[in-house]
Each structure stands twice: as C-alpha cells, then as structure tokens.
Chain length 222, copies 2
DNA sequence: CGGTTCCCTGATGGATCGTCAGGTCTCGTT
DNA sequence: AACGAGACCTGACGATCCATCAGGGAACCG
C-alpha cells in the first residue's frame, strides 16, 4: 500500500466512502473540538455527545468519522508526532562539543519543554494509553521519542569512538536522557508548584544531557 | 483535627456513619476489585457497575463508600504512597561515596523499577490525574517523590559544601534525577520493546544518578 | 432542473449513572 | 432465646450516554 493510499484510508468514513470538501470540514471541526475538550476536561469525562454538541452536530456524525473518542485522539497524536521532527533536527544539526555543545543541550531542553507545553493534553493521553498497552498509541510515542533517541545515540557513539563516555550502551544511555527530558518537560509545572524555579531545573537537565552525551563535565559558568 | 480523626473520616460512609466490621470488609472488597479492574482494563473503561459486580454487590453499595471511581483509586494511591517510604530510606541510609556510592545509585534504580512494577496501574492514573490538575492526586505524587527529592538534595548539598558538584541548585538537580528514575521506571517495558536490554538502561540510570548527585565520574567497571 | 452522490440527523434499544426509600442482617440487651 | 436498634444492602427509577440504523436534506453535475 502506498503512503498516499494509507492517508486516504485514514480519512475514510465509517461507510467506506472518501469524504469530500464538506465532510473534511466537519471532520476537522470534530477534531478541533476533541482537542478543546481534552484541554478543558478530564480524559475520563470526555463524552462523544459533548464533542458533537460543541461542534454543532450530532453524535451520529462523530461516529461517521471516528470509531470512538480514542480514534479521534489518535489522529491528534499523529499530528503531534509530525511536529516532533523538530526535536530530532535539533540533535542532528547541533554541535555537541565544548560550550556550543552545552548550548545545544540547553536548546534541546527548551525544545522539549516547549513541545510538551504545546501538546500536553494529547501527550498525557498518549502516555496513559501506551502504559495500558495500546499498540496504536505506543507506536506514536515511539515515532516521536525513538527518533530522538537514535539520533542522540549516534552522537554518543561518536564520542565513544574517541574513547570518551565509555562504559555505557549508547542506545540505553540516549534512552535514559530522553526519558529525563520527557519527564521533566511533562512535570515541570509540578516542579514550580513545589517552589522550584524552572530555570534551575532547566540548567540541571541541560547539564545532565551534556554530561550523559559527551561524557565531559559541563562548562563551569553554565 | 487529629490524625486519627482524619483516618476515621476517610472511612466514613456517604450517610455519615462509621462502618463496623461487615462494612469495612465490604469496603475492602470494593477496593480490591477496583485495583483488579485497574490492572485488567483501561482507566477510561472502568465502570462502577463492573466493580460492584466483581465484588458481588450492587452499585448503590459502592456509592455508599466512595463518591466515585476516582475516590476509590485515591485510597489505593494513598496506600501506595505509604509504601514509597522505602525509596526515601534508601537515599537516606545509603552511602554516596566511591564504589559503595555507585552501588547505592544502582540500588535506588532497582528500587524505583520495582516500585513502579508493583504499583504501575495506580501510578499511571496518579500521573494522569496530576497532569490534569487534580489536587488530591498531585498531593499523593508529591508525598512519594518530594520526600525522595528532598533527601537527595540534602546529599547533593553536602557534596557542594566540599566544593564538588557545584553550579546546580540542589533541589532542582535532585528533582531532575528523580524525574529520570521515575520516567525510566515507568517506561522500561517500552524500552524493552524497542530492543533495549533493561540491564543496560539500569546502568545508564545509575551512572547518571551517581554523577548528578556526587559530581564525580562513576567507577569505570560499573 | 432532475438525478446522483454526499452528508447529516432523529429515533431507538441497550447500558450506566447516581440516588432514594425501604428491606435484610448483625449484634448487644434483656 | 427473643427482641429491638442500628448497620448494611438493594431494587427501582429518571437521567444520561452509547452506538447504530434508515431516511431526509444539501451540494454538485450534466
């Protein structure tokens, strides 16, 4: 199956037809309202009837485009995954040596914080569903994070060739660092609630990423 | 209000009375079944009627002891929080210098992995609810993790008095490390799915914790 | 303007929710 | 052992949501 055919299949309505202009607009409206509901109410409390009402349509229409609420969220999650490409690029295109390397680590930390702030409502559902063993959502999570992990592992492997940062398996090390980035990004609001300053946390994370990637002590002046 | 009075209040049924022997047994049965449902079905799909059926009683009985499903899970979460004390003890009672220090880091990593494996179904709901801004659940999460963070921050501060591991704010640094521990513990199953060996991840985490706490390079031979 | 395809909805049977009033069980008292 | 008095549980109910039809409008084309 071509990629394009797969894309069409995703749009396909429940009765098998491929929606036209009006249909796609309705579908998008439903997606927007789903995102809105996700932002304003708890995941558990979201009802398709609420989404439909918000979109000015009936529940039956919702079911024409999505099998259930999770299917709609899955689409939102895929849009998010596409946006995640920018995280990968930061790792790939940044330099990792010296002070510039530390700046790359800082930039990556900021990018994670920003990414999570932007996609938090979707990400928390992705996390939950992944943890509950839902394959479709796990694949999304992998698509975003695994790409970053691979790229970072490549950087680590290069340092290891030079005899630095030895004693760790590059993928495992990269996975650990990405876990740190993701977890802090997910919970930094909670950190602030405890009285942490986000900037202090940001520095700690960036230093950890720099050290964990290069095996070298971060620049003293931050 | 005394602590005991607060405990009694938690048990109090919806009509204000304090349950006796039979009532407490029923309540416990409902809690057990809630935990079981949490293990076997998705959070979103849990219905009070299912819990009641599983417990061999009627929905009305459930509502006599809990306002809703979340209230029951909250009780499970509090039991979990009590168990979290063992993580704090590991940090407090372990030594953090030299190879023994690295062994403490490894032990802490293992303890987190074990803790998450044991309490995963509850923890994922705590995480979600916390992220959604539910204060009651956030307090639980704080109770478990903040205690570990404080203890670890105290260790970091001691190293800083000796001129080591400078340039970071102890609480922020400890928070970052605990985020790493928690995140890896939460997702190590996913790591394995990608083909990582848990043992490699374990080493990476322990080394990161050791470095982040002491400011020193971990022992070469692991 | 008529026909065809696309899109939407009212209606519906089934399930769950949350809450009573009232029945059943337990246990201490006599 | 019989008897209350609470303690405990449940049947029943109106409200809501689910998920799915068949059929009524809307848009587009010739």
């Amino acid at each position: 199956m071509t990629e394009q055919a797969a894309e069409v299949d995703q749009l396909r309505a429940s009765d098998g037809r491929v929606p036209g202009r009006r249909g796609r607009a309705t579908r998008q409206r439903l997606l927007d309202c789903t995102a809105e509901m996700l932002r304003t109410t708890s995941y558990r409390a979201i009802k398709v009837i609420d989404i439909a009402r918000e979109a000015g349509t009936s529940p039956a229409t919702f079911y024409q485009y999505f099998a259930d609420v999770e299917a709609a969220i899955l689409v939102l999650a895929e849009e998010m995954a596409a946006d995640g490409e920018r995280l990968v690029q930061l790792v790939r295109e940044g330099t990792w040596r010296g002070k510039a390397g530390y700046r790359t680590a800082l930039a990556l930390t900021d990018a994670f914080l920003e990414f999570w702030d932007e996609h938090r409502p979707v990400l928390r559902v992705v996390d939950l569903a992944t943890d509950e063993g839902d394959h479709r959502f796990r694949n999304i999570r992998v698509k975003v994070l695994n790409a970053v992990v691979r790229e970072l592992a490549a950087v680590i492997a290069r340092f290891q060739e030079e005899g630095r940062n030895t004693g760790v398996e590059p993928m495992a090390q990269a996975g650990t660092l990405v876990a740190t980035l993701a977890s802090v990004a997910a919970h930094h609001a909670g950190f602030e609630y405890w009285g942490f300053r986000t900037d202090d946390v940001r520095v700690s994370v960036a230093r950890t990423v720099y050290w964990g990637t290069t095996g070298q002590r971060p620049p003293a002046d931050g």
